[in-house]
Symmetry: C2
Subunit: 189 residues, 2 copies
Amino acid sequence: MAIAHVLMTALLDGEQTGYDLARSFDTSLGFFWQATHQQIYAELKKLKDKEWLSCTEISQQSRPNKLNYQLTDLGKQELEAWVYEIPRHKVVKDELLVKLYNLDHKNIGHMIGLLSERRKEAQSNHALYEKIRERHYANPEDLPLRKKGVYLSLLAGIREIKQWIEWCDDSIKLLEQEFETTTHRQASV
Amino acid sequence: MAIAHVLMTALLDGEQTGYDLARSFDTSLGFFWQATHQQIYAELKKLKDKEWLSCTEISQQSRPNKLNYQLTDLGKQELEAWVYEIPRHKVVKDELLVKLYNLDHKNIGHMIGLLSERRKEAQSNHALYEKIRERHYANPEDLPLRKKGVYLSLLAGIREIKQWIEWCDDSIKLLEQEFETTTHRQASV
DNA sequence: CGCCGCATGTAATTAGTTACATGATTGT
DNA sequence: ACAATCATGTAACTAATTACATGCGGCG
């Protein structure tokens, strides 16, 4: 039930609505833990029932009232304790890498396309990460300690994404060579 | 329902039992897609019902009969088609990185411990990956095309794991500095 | 004697996805 | 006119985890 703790972690920076959380997931914690808005809304309710979060309603006329969630003392305690539990959750599931196991002469062109697609995504993520770094972490030494933790996670994300870009480049190069020699062979037969 | 296709992919190398699949997941596809033996057994049954796999029973006296699964022609077709679908599944969930968002003066020692733990795991995984590379992929140029795809996935794994080790080292160094200055400050107050 | 490996599962629960729903407001 | 943003959700389903179960054989 780690999504609970992820949400509480997001609320360390101050109260937020489910909507805010869902969006901010796209630029921060969501790099390391994805969740849909449905899951977030549902979990927030559960957390309110447990009194790990409290919630204040903000009336609005033309749309549903905002529900602003914040950590309770109980929630803070729980979060602090959670940090001391050994992390069990390290899930990686990547269809692309599994698909690569299916490489053959017929689909090699398509695989190159998949890799290019992945590269493009990685590239745009990289740009986003770097933007965040420049904006909020330009002088890491001056950050308060908690933000240094966030910064380290960001660095992990940046390293990983760079790594992907390089791997895509290498892989595309290799597959293109393969593709050409295959085409040649077919042409010369 | 990608676990289905992951299992079928594993069976490209030949028939296997659920038990074999569960174990071989630890040294190959499982790097990119984890599954428990329960999930595997359940999915294999479903795949048999769909006739994407067939299964031959091997009688044994002192333990449950082995069920040896293999791809059917229908399964092969399905798998080939699956490769052409755009990969939707790229899940990453990493508690450690979320925990780092909770860094503070109280838990910094513990965080260093978590990072060391991660480093150790990464190190031993790295050794495993390299062993696999040496054993089966020493001469990548000579591999049949499909195995080159597997090799590329392995390379992605190796790069990633190296990347983690370096990141852990950097992060531990930074946190240890932080830890010392904190201790100093506390000592000198 | 007790634990590990082999080989399969069932049952209960939790986590996560997908589709659908509402309805005003702002931008193209 | 049409899509996107804001802001919340319900309902149905699928995927995945956790706990429990069996039972023999080999090893220290």
